[in-house]
Symmetry: C2
Subunit: 375 residues, 2 copies
Amino acid sequence: MGFPVVGVVGGGQLARMMAAPALELGITLRVLARDAAESAAQVVPGVEIGDETDLAALRRFAKGCDVLTFDHEHVPTEHLRALVADGVVVRPGPDALVHAQDKTVMRARLTELGVACPRWRVVPDAAALEGFGDEVGWPVVLKTPRGGYDGRGVRVVATAAEAADWIGRGEPLLAEERVDFTRELAVLVARSPHGQAAVYPVVETVQVDGICREVFAPADISDEHALAAQRAALRIAEGLDVTGMLAVEMFDTPAGVLVNELAMRPHNSGHWTIEGARTSQFEQHLRAVLDLPLGDTRMTAARAAMSNVLGGDLEDMYGGYLHCMAHDPGVRIHMYGKDVRPGRKVGHVTTVGEDAEDVRARAVHAAAFLRGDPE
Amino acid sequence: MGFPVVGVVGGGQLARMMAAPALELGITLRVLARDAAESAAQVVPGVEIGDETDLAALRRFAKGCDVLTFDHEHVPTEHLRALVADGVVVRPGPDALVHAQDKTVMRARLTELGVACPRWRVVPDAAALEGFGDEVGWPVVLKTPRGGYDGRGVRVVATAAEAADWIGRGEPLLAEERVDFTRELAVLVARSPHGQAAVYPVVETVQVDGICREVFAPADISDEHALAAQRAALRIAEGLDVTGMLAVEMFDTPAGVLVNELAMRPHNSGHWTIEGARTSQFEQHLRAVLDLPLGDTRMTAARAAMSNVLGGDLEDMYGGYLHCMAHDPGVRIHMYGKDVRPGRKVGHVTTVGEDAEDVRARAVHAAAFLRGDPE
């Protein structure tokens, strides 16, 4: 059998964070990056420079890999099908991944599976949007089916006229009711090709302007809602035949949980697992795509908190290490090797402990200090 | 200030295990390895091929590094002094490191510091060895002052005549009384240039033929002995002006702890800290040599166990992952990317949990299974 080679398409921080568990397990990680300065390309020896939308580049990259997986969802589905036809092992496969690439396909399939979602409709024109809004109530959430992330490709509109610029493009849009949620949740599930699945504790996510800012584990919700959220995530993983990590973002409402978004890769809502769970989502993803038995998903402490470090006033974040590490010997700092630009995710910090408020305050303080924000 | 570059002289598994915390902290790791197939050279992009006994190679390597540190103790002291004279930041510095390179220098200095050691004497010839053995009792432990590791350069002799081959070389040897110990212990301390020190819980080590096989944290000893062991390690770190990790191997005896060996780098007795402590010895070493505040050394669970995977009957250890991971989702496997040779350390496994016997049995089982041993 021998130690395998895992190829990751995309050179972002998710690929970078796979490097540590790969080297621990003796698994060779290769990365297809657009340029050598990308986050993962800085830390992995096996980097190939190429564009993920170029089938020839993908084919060259796939040659040396036992399994191909992803840092992001931007590889065209038809290229993935061509690779599968070549005999490349692609995990998750194109039929699964399309649900994380196309929000309309995802909504249709989840509805088929009986998974609770916000009410939704494909709206080809202003009249359809008008009708949907009048039915579910304004404002409504409007999404481009493909290409969105970190809040891009999503907006809230109070009238159909407000959406004239998007509608004018002539592509059908996805309209969804705006859910009056009490909090946002995320559930991570790993699933392997032979069908084993392992679910992590439900977490609460705090989003600002569509960008994940903080994650708290476990979420402070009833056992009943937590179990329902985990069951929904497991049903999706199986129903969509996911291999690797699946992140299911949800709205918690008094009536139950509703699925918002999916990602089929390690996810920002699971960065806390590096220190907060016995098996990190990055190792779990590698195990799952290699069809190895999955690891223990239990927490290493009663509570964990993750706070993203966004680009702010400080260009040099290393200077902040002195204060942060001296102030809190337990804070775990992760930096992605990215140039600081305002609002860009350049790192995260994680804390673990017994007390939810203490753990949260420590993570928020460290992240704010690193970016140069007075609190 | 900016993110620093740490250069590690030596491409073994200790340098390899520094790669994960380095990439997490955004610190660039460079490695000077003898060849590109070495353990760390496989996983780090900034590898320079060169010999650690070649001053020109060391100088070339040091050029791009903010601080130079070590995977092993084999760099000649005079080369380190030359680098320091060049202005290179070398941590630990040559005056500290010599105590981990030369056992006679170490014994003399520890005795000066008042640290309890086995009785010892430099024996230049057979008559001196004879006198020492008659005084402390036979058999005695005989050591070559330099170059030993994993049991090499150490032997037990029942008479002076038995040591004729070593004595015949004409170099003074170090003779030590053979201590009737109840168990072997190790204490890890990190110390930074500005003098901060952080000590880990005392662990028990199990050695077979001079090679560390298992480590159990914390050691099952009295608080009084544990505190004495930690105090001795801290006194040594300060007295020798150590920067980086210091591992102090000790004998536990009814009368107290006696220092056996020192290493000034991450050490086999601290591999358990990757999962078993809030800050691993590898991250702690990087923090210490960079003069960053040290991390939390507390354990992540009540108990941790580490078992080395030695080369055995199986050449392909990846096959064993299926059983080990399915049998125990919590077992943590570390492989070093080294070719399997009988008795060679090619990896280790770590377990954490609440029950000492359970944690120990799980680690021993996984390591034995991976090497192909029926238990």
